[in-house]
Symmetry: C2
Subunit: 179 residues, 2 copies
C-alpha cells in the first residue's frame, strides 16, 4: 500500500512514529495485529487514491510512545523540523509568522480499525470519534509556536510526536496568516 521511499530519503521504517494521542491508544508495534475487546478491523481498499511526499523529519526529545506527552504545549521543549533540501526555497517568508500548523504522518499506525477500545478508557467507540493515530489516513495536525528558522531547520514549541516522525506540511496557522 505504501510506496517505497526513494534512496535519497531516510529509512522511515526504523523510526516508529505513532505520535499524537499515543498515550490514549498505547498500542505498540508488537500488538498491532491483535484486537482488543470490541475492536473491528475492515479490509482496506486495494489501492490508495493519492500519494503523499514526506518533505522532512521532525526531531523531538521523545524516543518511545510512552515518553510522548498526550498533547503538545507551547511551554514544552523546543523541537526541530528538518526540511528536505528540495523544499528549501519554500521556507521564504516563514519567519514572519508566529504560529504554524504542522502536519505529519504517523506511518507506523495500523489503518484498518473502524471501532477502537483505547487502553486508557476501555470504552469502545468509532475511529472518527477519536483522535487516535489509528485511522484510515494517519495524519496528525499540531499548532505550534515558531521559535526560529535556521537554514532548513525550523525550531518550534508545541509538538507531541516521536523523534523521527515524517513531516508532510508546514503552513501559517489560520490566526497567523497575513491579510
Amino acid at each position: 500500500m505504501e510506496a517505497a521511499a526513494s534512496n535519497q530519503r531516510r529509512d522511515w521504517t526504523s523510526h516508529p512514529s505513532l505520535c499524537q494521542s499515543c498515550a490514549a491508544t498505547d498500542r505498540t508495534a508488537e500488538t498491532e495485529t491483535e484486537l482488543r475487546i470490541g475492536e473491528i478491523a475492515i479490509t482496506l481498499p486495494p489501492q490508495p487514491d493519492a500519494g503523499v511526499y514526506f518533505i522532512g523529519t521532525i526531531h523531538t526529545p521523545w524516543r518511545s510512545r510512552a515518553d510522548c506527552p498526550k498533547r503538545g504545549s507551547i511551554n514544552g521543549p523546543i523541537c526541530s523540523i528538518a526540511l528536505d533540501e528540495l523544499w528549501r526555497v519554500a521556507l521564504t517568508g516563514l519567519a514572519d509568522h508566529r504560529r504554524l500548523q504542522v502536519l505529519y504522518w504517523m506511518h507506523d499506525a495500523r489503518r484498518d480499525l473502524v471501532l477502537q477500545t483505547p487502553y486508557r478508557t476501555g470504552t469502545t467507540t468509532g475511529t472518527f470519534a477519536l483522535r487516535s493515530p489509528v485511522r484510515p489516513n494517519p495524519i496528525a495536525s499540531s499548532i505550534v509556536d515558531l521559535v526560529a528558522v535556521d537554514d532548513v531547520t525550523v525550531q518550534v514549541r508545541g509538538l507531541d510526536c516521536l523523534d523521527g516522525t515524517p513531516l508532510i506540511d508546514l503552513k501559517p496557522d489560520r490566526t497567523s496568516e497575513q491579510e
Copy 2:
C-alpha cells in the same frame, strides 16, 4: 503520481476541488501550467512515500473557486459530508462531539511550486508561508461545528471548500475530545 481511483469510487477528476484559500491563489485549471512573476516550480520526487484513501465526499454550495469563501464560518451554510459505506461503523460516537476537525484533499492543485505570487497580494513568498492549496501535499484542515449525523452523512457548519472535495479524515477537534 496519483493512484487511479477504484471503480467503486466517484470520478474525482470531474470535480475540481481547490478549496481553502482558493480566493488567495485564484489559480484556475486553465492557467495551472503557467507561472506568475517570481514563481518557481521544482521537479517533484519520482514517487510518493505513502498513500491516502479518499473516504468520502464533501458537498457544499460552492461550484467554482470564485464562489468559495476565503475562510469557513460557523455562521455559514450547512454542508454535508457523505462518508463512504466502508467506514460507516467508524462514525460510532461522533455525535457526542460538538466541534470536529475535517481534513480534505485539494486534488486539483499543482504541487510543485516553492515560491508563489498570489493574485490577491502580488507578493512573492514561500509555499510554507502561505495557506494556498498549491503545496507538496494538498491537504486542508477545517474546524467545523457538528450539526447532525444522519446515517453516513455528517452535517456541519464552517467549511469553505468546493462541492465534490474528497474527504480524508474526520476527528473531534482537540477542544472537543472527551477526557
